[in-house]
Symmetry: C2
Subunit: 357 residues, 2 copies
């Protein structure tokens, strides 16, 4: 299994002083104040026990309600399973797959989940500047297509028309669609929606770690079609018992839309700032979502791991090497998960570092 | 994959009024007050971020220290990985196995973890009254032996001599030993220890859900030998990112030995009470650890699922059917995880139910 290199970089970076951390995909903003209050209440009420394996029913109702408000899509709470972050949701979803196709670059853990469950895994290359799958590229004999929009690391977002085409392609060809929607909410266009709008048989995975700013609480969810609910619940009973209970109570108060709209605005401001600062030194596709810039460093290096290590040691900026996402030796991923002042410092250090290469 | 039936029973039982819950393996006692205070502090300090994948170093140091105090065994914090409950620890451990042998009856999820990772899995039958593996029974071509002591559901405990023999057998035959020690602490004899005392290459799995009374916090640990640390860390990076942060801070304060000694005494009292109440109506091997009675119901039924459902519906006592643990149609598992008053009510109801069969 391949290391998730960003976690190694993080470990190394935390041991150094004065580093600007632009490596890990972790929002620096706190969750809504309501979440903190809900946690204090749950601790005081000693909610230290297991919940049912699928998670608290009231939380599943809140999530169903979120789909109505956010996408105008009707979901039954019964089709929702609360998971420990999204990682375990992928483990559950992959159980239903034989051969999984997914665009590359993409989230590196996907391939490792497939490896753990001994599933075949194929990558379909996407290209600068939009990094999106086209229908033409969907050739090959796979039974499962896994997409993520916004994409990590590129920040690309399928618009509603593009998503509809992929959804219909999967329905028509009886391909299981797994849609990773973890960065929904952190999208800087209005033209996007959930895969469930166009494919009732899709498995949708989302969670509270990004938009809702609750990464360390390790809480996510998945929505599964009727015919897979019972089997998915059984796997959850085994690999989760149940998701962390305090985190489930916290999540009940996470849908604070006024606060969340400010979170989105803040990340959009940061994207605009850092993209404008760096776009002339690297080719970068302007991301429409998430909080990453996928930067082509080929002018300076074709060894992204060395580049990232040098940048950390010499310039005190931590970024993720492209090799974390596959064979991308001439890319780095920069997270804009710090405030504008830190991004300013980071951008200045990156520019100085490059000047001295 | 087979359902973890106890979770279904729990779900059904929670919808009924006035049920005595003797089904799930969940201590009813709260954790030490220090744990609650640590949680409140961590929430107030907004510890909502990821930790390193292996978990907080200070927590790994505390756990290493626990091995010194509890077993007089030296463990390096670097060999410890903090996991989300023990479930993910098993997923990590099984990655290193090809063909896993384990005694039956045993924890039902083991087989499902093996199924998820497509590992071969064989069961070695153990028998009344001690339900333990003998060296003679360890025949067959497996590369991994998984033991649990105290055992769930039988409560059997390997004494130090028996454990030493198994440890040496594994070393000699180059078999990976995975030792599930989750119920350590809840042992009503002093003659037991950790597998690490006699097998430095074992993987030991333990957690805070039972003895430490923190089930809903979903926090456990595994200790891996030097040659597997890096690979285990990589899998943890992928499937955990990191264990829930608040739970990690809570666990720092869980080693309150004065409180824990009272937890043990309370469960021992309950074991003595319930065993004496029920031993004349069922054959039961007196358990030396954990908090379960494994009861042979063959005098009354050979359909444990129907028996458990009838007992729930007619007598309002929830228990786990033996079929949850394999082909044990004439057994039920009764948890003594409630106070003596509730156990009294439960025992009375069970006896009345049996009288009317």
């Amino acid at each position: 299994m391949k290391p998730f290199i960003v976690m190694d970089i993080l470990k190394k970076a935390r041991k150094l002083e004065g580093v600007v951390h632009l490596e890990i995909g972790e929002p620096d903003l706190p969750p809504s104040k309501n979440v903190k209050n809900a946690l204090l209440k749950a601790v005081n009420e000693e909610k230290f026990y297991y919940t049912e394996a699928k998670g608290l029913e009231i939380l599943r109702e809140k999530i169903a309600n979120h789909y109505k408000i956010f996408y105008d899509v009707n979901i039954k709470p019964d089709n929702i399973i609360i998971t420990t972050g999204t990682s375990t949701a992928f483990l559950i979803a992959f159980y239903f797959a034989k051969k999984i196709a997914t665009p590359t670059p993409g989230y590196p853990c996907y391939e490792n989940f497939a490896e753990l469950e001994k599933k075949e895994f194929i990558k379909i290359k996407t290209e600068f500047p939009d990094y999106k799958l086209s229908l033409k590229s969907l050739k090959g004999d796979f039974d499962t297509l896994m997409i993520s929009s916004p994409n990590n690391p590129t920040g690309s977002v399928y618009n509603e028309k593009e998503l509809k085409e992929i959804c219909e392609f999967c329905e028509k060809n009886e391909i299981l669609l797994i849609s990773d929607e973890l960065y929904h909410g952190l999208v800087y266009t209005d033209d996007y929606t959930t895969a469930l709008k166009y494919n009732k048989n899709a498995i949708v995975i989302n969670g509270f770690s990004k938009f809702f700013c609750m990464p360390g609480l390790r809480i996510g969810w998945m929505i599964v079609p009727d015919n897979l609910v019972r089997e998915a619940e059984i796997i959850a009973q085994n690999i989760l018992i149940s998701a962390p209970t305090l985190s489930q109570y916290a999540a009940l108060e996470a849908f604070d839309y006024e606060y969340l709209s400010n979170v989105r605005k803040e990340f959009q401001k940061r994207r605009d700032f850092l993209y404008n600062e760096l776009k002339d030194i690297f080719p970068i596709a302007k991301p429409e979502g998430a909080f990453y810039l996928w930067c082509d460093i080929s002018k300076y290096s074709n060894d992204s791991l060395k580049f990232a290590n040098d940048l950390l040691e010499k310039a005190k900026v931590a970024v993720t090497p492209g090799v974390d996402f596959g064979e991308f030796k001439d890319f780095i991923r920069i997270s804009y998960t710090k405030n504008i002042d830190e991004l300013k410092t980071g951008a200045r250090r990156i520019k100085n570092f490059i000047k001295n290469i």
